[in-house]
């Protein structure tokens, strides 16, 4: 790999020990990926601040001890604690103390304490064509697909190493020629009623991830005004069930003005024409139990937006929840809820806010097993192994109705 003079200087330690360590790691990754050079990145989103064990703390604190400092705007993903409502998180010591040290270390490195997995809805919005180094699989897929920014699916550690050096290896999705779709997914046979349901997008994403793996698909036949929250749900599900880092929606996303343009005017290598039956079977596999007595409802993976909170409140329509709804969000939305005067309404309805973190990355639920209902494909994917809770997947409307009765209520109409 060809390094510029300033990159070589970083590697040689002229920008300090921490930057040199970061440069060694990204140079090694560049070598493995066959990159010929490094490119500058304009921002980073750091997932490494989420606690997984003492090793991550040791890594981050070594960078802090060596006076590391990020050189591009670097937002932080969720941590394992709700710093605003610490009492809501049941994570015991010593993990709790370590999780806090880890979050502190990343702030000490100069990262922005945004603590959200939806940075793109918290004011961190890279422009189309910009090279960035983002981690957190749903943020990666959103930045690439919906914003047209360019990032690979960076893992923990790579994110902070790119932030400390301001560089990333020129490989993968940073290269324009690698961003075209090779798979076409036609949703033209599906009913408009189905496409109006929010659950459809999480299910479509789960189908996409488990079918195309990490290939790039272009989806046709979706409404031209499909909302950002729905694309967020689609991407998050696709990135949990597969390795999807980029998808296109013809006529909607920035690199797909048309089907042909997304495919670079070549025929697709694979073409799928989706039927309702295909999606119903995927939807059914997203649930892990037939039990209908619920213990908890969880929403907000990725972090809930203000719009999603307003929809939830409209669906509850003044009714009180019999089982709690845990709604995970970022402090950017908490402030909006506060200024809209909605915090009291949510609390009296039985909606418990979890901020800075979420229910699958740390201990929130009162019990270590039970049945959880969710509208999130990502929660559905991870809940059983990470929280011990069996999963029932449903739309946001199903979740709201089920929360009120305490039992699973489903509207099957649009899935027929």
């Amino acid at each position: 790999m060809q390094l510029s003079d300033s990159e070589q200087a970083m590697l040689d330690g002229q920008a300090g020990v921490a930057t040199a360590m970061a440069m060694r790691i990204i140079t090694e990754m560049g070598r493995v990926s066959g990159a010929e050079k490094m490119i500058p990145v304009s921002s980073a989103h750091i997932d490494s601040c989420l606690f997984h064990g003492a090793s991550g703390v040791e890594f981050a604190e070594r960078l802090v001890a060596e006076k590391g400092r990020v050189c591009v705007p670097s937002s932080l993903n969720v941590g394992a604690l709700d710093l605003l409502h610490p009492e809501k998180i049941r994570l015991p010591d010593p993990q709790r103390g370590l999780a806090r040290r880890l979050m502190n270390a990343y702030v000490a490195l100069g990262c922005i304490p945004s603590w959200t997995c939806a940075p793109y809805q918290a004011g961190f919005r890279p422009k189309c064509g910009q090279d960035i180094a983002w981690a957190e699989s749903n943020a990666v897929v959103f930045a690439n697909s919906v914003l047209g920014a360019r990032t690979n699916r960076y893992g923990d550690f790579m994110d902070i190493c790119c932030a400390l050096t301001g560089r990333a290896p020129y490989t993968g999705l940073h290269i324009a020629a690698n961003r075209f779709a090779t798979v076409e997914v036609d949703t033209g046979q599906l009913s408009n009623a189905l496409k109006r349901s929010d659950a459809f997008y999480a299910v479509l994403g789960t189908w996409l991830g488990s079918t195309v793996g990490s290939d790039i698909a272009v989806i046709t036949g979706l409404p031209g005004d499909v909302s950002e929250d729905r694309l967020k749900a689609l991407g998050a599900s696709a990135a949990s069930s597969g390795g999807v880092a980029l998808f296109h929606v013809a006529g909607v996303t920035p690199e797909a003005p048309s089907l042909e343009a997304a495919l670079n005017h070549r025929p697709p290598q694979q073409r799928f024409c989706l039927t309702t039956g295909d999606l119903v079977s995927v939807r059914d596999r997203m649930s892990t139990t037939d039990r209908d007595q619920l213990d908890v409802i969880a929403v907000g993976s990725p972090h809930f937006s203000l719009d999603e909170f307003q929809r939830l409140l409209a669906l509850l329509d003044g009714r009180k929840c019999a089982v709690p709804i845990y709604a995970c969000t970022g402090r950017h939305v908490l402030h909006q809820l506060e200024s809209h005067g909605l915090l009291g309404t949510l609390s009296s309805a039985g909606v418990e806010l979890i901020v800075d973190t979420c229910v699958v990355v740390t201990d929130v639920f009162p019990k270590t097993s039970g049945v959880m209902m969710t509208n999130s494909g990502k929660f559905a994917h991870y809940s059983l192994s990470l929280t011990g809770h069996e999963v029932v997947f449903g739309s946001l409307e199903d979740c709201a109705n089920s929360a009120v009765t305490g039992r699973v209520v489903r509207d099957e109409q649009s899935w027929r």
């Binding site: 997984h52 064990g53 090793s55 699989s137 699916r153 793996g213």
Partner: protein
Amino acid sequence: MMDIRTTALLAGDASGQLLSLSADISFWGGVDPCSGRIIDTRHPQYGQCMAGKILVMNRSIGSSSGSSVLLELFQRKLAPAGIILAEPDFIIVLGAVVAREMGYGDIPVIQLNPEHFDGLPECLEISRSGSLKAVHKQ
């Protein structure tokens, strides 16, 4: 010596029993960092432990926290002895690169055409050059 072409993504030598994953996995949420066991109940190799094994898999899926889980396995001496991938999976390679940087351990990560996966022996030795050799069960 088996005549199979491999690419050493990270050079190193290792030997161990094979653990071949028949489905892709997310290390985060799929592997317990405290025990090395597969905890994704929907995964075909649910319950198996990867510590000290030669892990054979196509690629990882899902969360970018996978590198952290792998690093934690290294620190706890529960990492696989070596990893064979069908694709150069950067989340996996990164965990191994950072483990080297932190002085936690040094394992080979090699890329192999998955059409050879089925023919791999139960116990395998990986050399620094990336060549594979069948060994007797330890």
